[in-house]
């Protein structure tokens, strides 16, 4: 019963100065709602950025690169302590590009867990020619179905169909800007010249727009069989194998798992795009720093209000102590007030933060394929914001409450 008495006293304190309580609640509400808004916005930005980036980026890339630049065929033949070796103008002569046994690798990868999609590519630098115009770029021979699984390329088509490449063996799909540069429309013909000097004509069967400028300006898709034919490679050849796994943050452990099976270089997207990782990490840090600052300021506000309240009520605290309320009771009374302010403010703040985020999500923003400012909600942000809000209030309320519990009634009552 004594406990409920303390809570009743706290209730009277809270309700008798409703304006002050309201301001304190508002402090927490503001902090929590800003925390939720900032984080949802940053998550939205990161997600939009990633969605854009992973349109041209697989989680893991397998490729073959001659990285042996220290090979010395003579060193093992002579006594190096007595001989000085100098090979001038050294060149690699037995180096094969690309992956020769690609289907074996693909089936090995498909057997592992966590794989979402695997796709082979035959990439080659070429010149695109149309009449007198000539543009250099990359032609990418792809397996249409798995390529679409990987990048959702079919969604980026603005003219023609992705699957046209299956039906038309000599069809080609161009990036939007590339097509514009060359002045080409659908069903026009285009000449492709490889670095080996092979030249071949294709028919434009589609145009895509990825919103990644470099891609739209330089890239063209062929059927993988047509690409192999173009560069004169066998039917099991691929220059790259792209793999998507279930959780793209898990690339390191996945690469460890498949590395023994594959005699080529394996690269995760994080290694290939450190600036992407750094960007999203930095944005997260900013979001957390800003929202914690807001919560801290709100905490100071509550600390001030609680201190003020306690100074105002110092006589009453003394009288309650004289009547037999212990320091613990006094502490309970004021901590209960802080708690109510915290919980109430946090819940209202969560709702307000959700509302603000929804409103911001309506603001038009039409750059790089976006329509409005991106917002992405995560349950953990809401939980953290509410927890932080309540915790901040509790700490901010604890210090003045402790001070209140230590008030010596005699000093106050004697005046």
């Amino acid at each position: 019963m004594a406990k409920s008495t303390n809570i009743q006293i706290a209730r009277v304190h809270l309700t008798s100065k409703i304006g002050q309580t309201f301001v304190a609640v508002l402090g927490v509400t503001f902090g929590v709602s800003m925390y939720i808004f900032m984080n949802s916005f940053m998550n939205g930005v990161n997600k939009a950025q990633d969605d854009l980036a992973f349109r041209a980026l697989s989680h893991i890339r397998i490729y073959n690169q001659d990285s042996r630049n220290d090979y010395n065929p003579i060193a093992s033949q002579v006594d190096r302590t007595k001989t000085v070796i100098n090979i001038s103008n050294r060149k690699s002569i037995q180096y094969t590009t690309g992956l020769k046994n690609s289907s074996a690798i693909v089936s090995a990868i498909k057997k592992t867990t966590d794989v979402v999609a695997v796709s082979r590519q035959v990439n080659s630098n070429v010149f695109f020619r149309s009449g007198s115009k000539q543009v250099n770029g990359v032609v990418s021979g792809v397996e249409l179905k798995s390529e679409d699984e990987l990048y959702k390329t079919a969604e980026t088509m603005i003219q023609g169909e992705w699957n046209n490449l299956i039906t038309y063996k000599s069809g080609i799909i161009l990036g939007k800007l590339l097509a514009e540069k060359l002045g080409l429309k659908i069903n026009n013909s285009i000449n492709v010249l490889t670095s080996a000097g092979v030249s071949k004509n294709y028919i434009v069967v589609g145009i895509f727009e990825s919103n990644l400028k470099t891609m739209d300006e330089t890239k063209a898709y062929l059927n993988i069989a047509a690409a192999r034919q173009l560069i004169g490679e066998s039917s099991d050849y691929a220059s790259d194998i792209m793999v998507n796994i279930r959780d793209r943050e898990n690339t390191v452990s996945y690469i460890k798992k498949i590395a023994p099976l594959i005699p080529y270089q394996i690269e995760s997207w994080q290694e290939a795009n450190e600036q992407l990782v750094a960007g999203s990490e930095l944005r997260n840090i900013i979001a957390i720093a800003v929202s914690l600052t807001i919560l801290l300021v709100a905490g100071f506000g509550i600390y001030n209000i609680m201190t003020m309240t306690i100074n105002e009520k110092i006589k009453e605290i003394a009288i309650m102590k004289a009547l037999g309320f212990s320091g613990k009771d006094i502490m309970t009374i004021f901590l209960t007030q802080a708690n109510v302010i915290g919980i109430f403010g946090a819940i209202v703040g969560a709702i307000l933060g959700y509302g603000i985020s929804l409103l911001i999500n309506l603001v038009p923003f039409t750059i790089a394929g976006m329509e409005t400012l991106p917002i992405f909600f995560q349950t953990q942000d809401f939980l953290l914001a509410v927890c932080f809000g309540i915790l901040t209030t509790l700490i901010a309320g604890y210090l003045p409450s402790r001070k209140a519990s230590k008030i010596d009634p005699v000093i106050i009552i004697r005046g």
Partner: protein, 226 residues
């Protein structure tokens, strides 16, 4: 019949340190019997209020010993003393000191709610009774700060009585009351002492009040004169 001892103090010495060291109580000893109605008088600065606050257990910074109802209270912790006060001591302060945001009734009920020995209904009934006894019928639900000074003081007295404490202490308990109400309070105190054996100690300046008590202790310069 030998009377039971309610309060016993031995060789009470107390110093004030602000603004400079000064001995307020210079070795005070006396006993108060159960059911005794006692007044402490003396000029201001004689140490009578200081003595009362030591007796009240709120002031623990003294030398000597204090027993109430046979319990040694010197050396107990603040929280133990708070619990003891709640159950055994009722207070009436010089400046009445109610909680302004609570109604008269709530103010009276508070110590009993804290003690938690009776149900809320019983406490409420008791509080209404006490307030009626002190001529405050009709004022029960008013906020304490809306009452006049005299009414507030009577509410404070009702509050001091709610837990039926064995000792009631007052610092000028009738200081804000007119003669009629002052008389009424004195009668109530007398009745409590005689019928219920509650010990009552009041510091007062009012000679009428003092003369109406069983015993007068007069203080001067930190010592008991008589």
């Amino acid at each position: 019949m030998e009377k039971a001892i309610s309060i016993e103090i031995r060789n009470l010495i107390k110093y004030f340190y602000e603004p400079e060291k000064f001995q307020v109580l210079k070795g005070v000893s006396f006993t108060v019997n159960k059911g005794e109605f006692l007044s402490i008088v003396g000029k201001s600065g004689s140490g009578k209020s200081t003595l009362l606050y030591v007796l009240s257990t709120m002031d623990t910074d003294y030398e000597g010993s204090l027993h109430i109802n046979g319990d040694m209270l010197t050396g107990k912790t603040q929280n133990q003393l708070a619990a003891f006060r709640n159950e055994h001591i009722g207070f009436v302060f010089q400046f009445h000191y109610l909680l302004p945001e609570f109604s008269a009734l709530q103010n009276v009920m508070l110590p009993a709610l804290k003690l938690g020995k009776l149900s809320v209904e019983e406490i409420e009934y008791k509080a209404y009774e006490s307030l009626r006894l002190l001529d405050l019928k009709g004022q029960e639900l008013k906020n304490a700060k809306r009452l006049s000074g005299g009414q507030q003081q009577r509410v404070a007295i009702a509050r001091a009585l709610i837990n039926s404490p064995s000792v009631i202490m007052g610092d000028e308990p009738t200081g804000n009351l007119d003669t009629k109400n002052s008389r009424a309070v004195q009668d109530i105190f007398k009745q409590l002492a005689q019928e219920y054996g509650q010990t009552i100690i009041c510091v007062t300046h009012d000679p009428d009040f003092a003369n109406n008590t069983d015993r007068i202790i007069e203080m001067q310069d930190g010592l008991i004169l008589s």
